[in-house]
């Protein structure tokens, strides 16, 4: 186990700046997920932590020691690759034991540890097979076994699940989570899948174009996204963005939104809760209101009476998309398409007007120019 500190790390290829000063600090035993679209520099950063890529500027510290000039094999890290990178000519057992063999661990010790790792991952019956004879999930397990057997200070995962089919991916995700809970080792995990990030991470770093957009716990990233990019990237279906104006109505601050109800277009006022009233400098200006689909649903008077953060409005329904548990209800607010998550038994036919309520306590406000959270 080890702490990991990344201080103002930069990477350039020629004149192209891939990473523009990354700062991340990781406690012992944390699970960091680097999340971002392809080309955001997350894999480059992981390779730099592993020592497979040089650092242009800044420092990487493992357990308070600068490792910029330390060879990958001496960093006490283990890495699992997206392509698994199993040695095709070696059996499963030799694959797992190769790292120990290179470190001159004696044969009995090696066999004992390989066996232990194989049993932990339930692949001990495959020891004599070659990688070509294994299924995708089994290969993934062997790749993890190869990392596990070395008992490293830090585990690095480079999109380890993206080559698996959907069902197996969910299974292996849980497996990795269990592994982390059991070993308690510091892990760094690269993915473009926000669900993997949410389910696995103790903290998520969201990257875009070589810059960290937000570095926080999954819950905070979800509830208080630092900017519209993060808000749109995390969550499925994504957060709704509604153009709105901040207004003061009867001494209360809130937002005013355009919408159509019962055939007539008009604006509706949604009051902000008590703790969000400190934005008086925004009165009269345009903002973007961010609403998660599950905080926008059909109106329930009983719930509204106990929770004063819930605000009601009517709106015409455009499209219904049943998913079984919920029906995704498409409406139009402020000229934008908005999705509400509605109980299937409370929906209204498309074209008709329906009563909604929105939890303004869970809503986010963004500056339309900077796209930052207000």
């Amino acid at each position: 186990m080890a702490s990991l500190s990344i201080q103002n790390v930069k990477k350039s290829y020629g004149s192209v700046e891939v990473l523009k000063g990354i700062d991340l600090d990781l406690e012992n035993g944390e699970f960091l997920v680097l999340l971002g679209p392809s080309g955001c520099g997350k894999s480059t950063l992981l390779n730099m932590i592993a020592g497979l890529d040089t650092i242009t500027a800044g420092e990487i510290l493992i357990d308070q020691t600068v490792v910029n000039d330390v060879h990958p094999k001496d960093r006490d890290i283990a890495m699992v690759f997206q392509s698994y990178a199993l040695y095709p000519n070696m059996s499963v057992a030799r694959n797992i034991g190769f790292g120990l063999e290179m470190r001159k661990v004696n044969k009995e010790e090696r066999e004992r540890r390989v066996d232990e790792a194989a049993r932990m991952l339930q692949i001990d019956h495959l020891s004599d097979r070659k990688p070509a004879q294994l299924s995708g999930g089994q290969r993934q397990r062997v790749a993890m076994g190869r990392a596990l057997v070395r008992d490293p200070e830090i585990f690095l995962f480079d999109e380890p699940l993206s080559n698996l089919d959907a069902k197996l991916r969910v299974e292996m995700r849980t497996e990795i989570k269990k592994l982390h809970q059991r070993l308690g080792t510091t892990m760094v995990y690269v993915t473009h899948d926000q669900i993997e990030a949410m389910t696995l991470a103790s903290r998520i770093a969201i990257l875009k174009e070589g810059e960290v957009q937000q570095f926080a716990s999954p819950q905070e990233v979800y509830e208080k996204p630092a900017n519209m990019y993060v808000a749109g990237f995390v969550g499925s279906p994504p957060m709704n963005f509604v153009p709105a104006a901040v207004v003061n109505e009867n001494g209360k601050l809130g937002v005013s939104i355009e919408r159509t109800a019962n055939g007539t277009r008009g604006s509706v006022f949604l009051a902000l809760p008590e703790d969000r009233q400190g934005i008086s400098e925004w009165v009269g200006r345009d903002v973007i209101l961010g609403i998660r689909p599950e905080t926008l649903t059909h109106r329930s008077d009983s719930e509204m009476s106990i929770n004063n953060r819930l605000q009601a409005f009517d709106c015409q329904v455009e499209v219904l998309e049943p998913t079984g548990a919920d029906t995704l209800t498409y409406i139009e607010l402020g000229g934008r398409e908005v999705i509400a998550r509605v109980n299937p038994y409370n929906t209204t036919e498309p074209g008709e007007t329906m009563a909604f309520m929105v939890d303004m306590g869970k809503a986010s406000l963004f500056d339309p120019k900077t796209e930052l959270r207000i």
């Binding site: 390779n47 592993a50 497979l52 990958p72 094999k73 890290i77 283990a78 890495m79 690759f81 997206q82 392509s83 698994y84 990178a85 040695y87 095709p88 000519n89 190769f98 790292g99 290179m102 470190r103 190869r146």
Partner: protein, 295 residues
């Protein structure tokens, strides 16, 4: 794979006729190519009387390997009548180290050009590749000077050196193009596991290389064994390879022309390359097309 001849609705009379024509043409071509071999083989088994009295295409009255023994042990190459034997072993002593060393060096160079990429690796590869297009004749004079300077002129080791140098562009090309398709992640994983340059080469790359090794060995063996120009230019007398000796045997202007011995000598000279093709030929095609489709 779908057999396109077995698709439904593909059996009209016109198509049957076309198929007949196709096979007829193929048989004619096959005969055209096999005939010289039959003539050479049958002539090598006749005695001189039979050759003088019979026709070219007639088969030998009895199987008779006398000419083969004569070509191997007694035929006169220039002024020394030792047969092809010593020259054959010269060729073996030249071909085996030259093929082994050029293949190994090609593998190592191909490996470092693809997996341990350094600045200018592509430029160096392009320059090495350029060597493939230099005709033999261009390097004759500078090579002769180098051999003299190194003190290995007119020796088998000298020829080995020439063939290694001339073969490297091809072996590097083969291995480089093969290794470029092996995923970099393998090398990264091995690096993290603690393996160094030679360990990765020995334990991971070489075990993956048999298809391309076979291609390279066949290519190099054929090139080096069949070479005439370098052998004729850089050696004289006892140091000559078998191809040069064969030429001297056949082109001798004294005594009776022994066609059966000439034919036997030609077959002895060609035998090793033929053997390599028969033994490893199927890997050759497989290796050449490796990586062309995703497996």
């Amino acid at each position: 794979m779908t057999d396109i001849t077995a698709l439904p609705g593909g059996k009209s009379p016109w198509q049957s006729a076309a198929r007949f024509g196709l096979y007829a043409l193929l048989i004619i071509f096959a005969a055209y190519y096999i005939l010289p071999l039959i003539v050479v083989l049958s002539t090598s088994m006749k005695d001189l009387d039979e050759i003088r009295n019979g026709t070219l295409l007639s088969l030998p009255a009895e199987i008779n390997f006398e000419a083969w023994g004569y070509a191997w042990n007694e035929a006169c190459i220039g002024v020394s009548c030792t047969g092809l034997k010593p020259y054959f072993w010269n060729s073996v002593a030249m071909t085996i180290p030259a093929v082994t060393i050029s293949t190994l060096l090609g593998a190592l160079t191909g490996f470092s050009l693809t997996k341990f990429k350094f600045k200018g690796a592509n430029l160096i590869f392009a320059m090495i590749l350029f060597g493939c297009f230099i005709p033999f004749q261009v390097v004759l004079l500078p090579m002769a000077q180098s051999l003299g300077f190194l003190g290995v002129a007119n020796t088998v080791p000298g020829l080995v050196l020439v063939h290694i140098v001339y073969g490297l562009p091809f072996t590097v090309l083969f291995f480089r193009n093969y290794y470029v398709n092996i995923p970099d992640d393998l090398i990264k994983a091995a690096t993290i596991d603690g393996a160094g340059f030679f360990m990765i080469f020995w334990r991971i790359m070489l075990p993956l290389s048999p298809p391309i090794i076979v291609v390279t060995v066949i290519w190099q063996f054929t090139q080096i064994w069949n070479d005439f120009l370098f052998g004729a230019s850089f050696t004289t007398g006892g140091g000559q390879p078998v191809t040069v000796a064969l030429n001297n045997l056949v082109n001798t202007t004294t005594g009776v022309k022994r066609y059966n011995v000439d034919m036997a000598a030609a077959l002895i000279t060609a035998a090793p390359t033929l053997a390599v093709y028969v033994l490893a030929g199927r890997y050759f095609v497989r290796g050449l097309t490796a990586g062309s489709v995703k497996g």
